[in-house]
């Protein structure tokens, strides 16, 4: 019967899909381990350097510490560094971050330039007609700091010149293997920390404030961008592993269901044949 053959072919197809998703799951799992390690290892530095700079901001009385830290009252243009994976098949991860950035742009409603890191976000923003100022794709699964410097240097270049008034960074924060969260954080200017007035004493700088900050600020931006990319990769691999595990499971469930249907159809066919035979002999007698 044609129907039976059709079901059989379908079962075969679903089985081979399960094989592929299983393989993808295992690849993602092995990449995930390394990516998570790297993402988490960089966190203390990223947190501490942010803390240090916002402390410095809090106590600087009046004059701006560094051209990269000057907050501007009139926001004419913002820049968003939008970090996404190069590849999909990672569950809702890509959709979440793209949706968040799109909504953020609508809410801000000012001239927005985008630095797109990763093909998925680039394609999405281009499709929706956003202004892409720079694009970086193919960073790979384990990028080093050096290969991310061109990204941070755009910001370090433009902000002091006033070509952009606020810089945001959109990435997927890694929480654990099952959960990742799309976030958008302000990179520049740094928000001053809230320090009680009693502790609000000017810093002593060695050798002097401009030398320290000229060293510290680029380092800060470079590390934040690099770290956001590492977090995004850890999230991507985790999300992909979970998505592929679900896909494999679904395929197996589907095979089970189809096998049941197939067996029923086969049984029915046999029964029909038997009925035909007994009907035939009964007619002869």
């Amino acid at each position: 019967m044609a129907n039976i053959r059709l079901i059989k072919r379908r079962i075969k197809g679903v089985k081979s899909i399960a094989k592929i998703t299983k393989a993808m799951e295992m690849i993602a799992a092995s990449k995930m381990r390394k990516a998570q390690e790297r993402g988490l290892a960089g966190r203390p530095y990223s947190e501490k350097i942010t803390q240090v700079i916002s402390n410095l901001m809090a106590v600087s009385s009046g004059q701006p510490l560094h051209p990269c830290l000057t907050a501007r009252d009139d926001i004419k243009k913002i820049t968003i560094i939008h970090i996404t994976p190069d590849r999909g098949l990672a569950g809702g991860l890509v959709g979440n971050i793209n949706r968040m950035t799109a909504r953020f742009i609508l809410e801000k409603n000012v001239n927005t330039g985008i630095i797109a890191v990763g093909r998925k976000g680039l394609d999405f923003l281009r499709r929706t007609g956003r202004k892409i100022e720079a694009e970086f794709t193919g960073l790979g699964d384990y990028p080093d700091l050096l290969s991310t410097l061109p990204i941070s240097h755009i910001v370090l270049d433009e902000y002091p010149k006033g070509e952009t008034d606020e810089v945001y960074i959109a990435y997927t924060k890694f929480i654990n293997t099952m959960a990742q969260e799309a976030v958008i954080e302000k990179l520049l200017p740094v928000e001053p920390a809230e320090i009680p007035a009693a502790e609000n004493v000017e810093y002593i700088y060695e050798p002097d404030s401009s030398a320290v900050l000229d060293g510290l600020i680029p380092r800060f931006v470079e590390m934040q961008v690099y770290h956001a990319i590492l977090e995004s990769i850890a999230s991507e691999q985790s999300a992909r592993m979970v998505a592929m595990r679900n896909a494999t499971q679904n395929a197996k469930d589907l095979v089970d269901d189809l096998t049941l249907v197939y067996n029923k159809a086969r049984q029915e066919m046999i029964t029909n044949e038997l009925l035909d035979i007994t009907g035939g002999t009964a007619a002869l007698e």
Binding site: A41, G42, P44, Y45, K48, I49, Q51, V52, N55, L56, V59, L145, E199, V201, E202, Y203, I204, Y205, E206, P207, S209, A211, V212, G215, L216, R219, M223, Y226
Partner: protein
């Protein structure tokens, strides 16, 4: 006795985090000793040895530069790299030093950046110093 919270981080990891009695750090303008309730200070670090004392324990690290923030109750060290004395491979450090010295002697060779060679030389010397101090002290314990 009052203590001060010390956090040492590098880009790769959290190296050290504890309450200590005193921190001695290689500031750009000279060695700094930091006790609890120090006035706020922000300095660059030069390659050198960073020591933290807690009671009778001493913790020593070879730092290759970075930044140091001091607040009355805590110290944050943002190090470019930090190695514990026992992690340092002396043979490798000696080799790096020789390599740097050789490059220094042929100063005008093309493609050699004198500044970075000098920095490499200083880094390797610091590592050797820290590791050897540790070695000398070890038998006494």
């Amino acid at each position: 006795m009052a203590t001060i919270k010390l956090d040492i981080v590098t880009a790769e990891r959290l190296v050290y985090s504890d309450e200590v009695d005193i921190v001695i750090a290689p500031g750009i303008d000279g060695e700094l000793g930091i006790l609890p309730r120090h006035t706020p200070l922000m300095t660059m670090l030069q390659p050198g040895e960073l020591i933290a004392r807690k009671g009778n324990e001493e913790y020593s690290l070879a730092i290759s530069g970075g930044f140091l923030e001091v607040r009355p109750d805590r110290v944050i060290v943002l190090a470019d790299s930090a190695e514990r004395a026992e992690e340092i491979d002396i043979a490798r450090a000696e080799e790096a030093k020789k390599r740097a010295e050789k490059l220094m002697s042929e100063k005008y060779a093309p493609g050699v950046d004198a500044g970075s060679v000098e920095a490499a030389l200083r880094r390797s010397m610091v590592r050797i110093k820290v590791a050897e101090r540790r070695k000398k002290k070890a038998p006494r314990i």
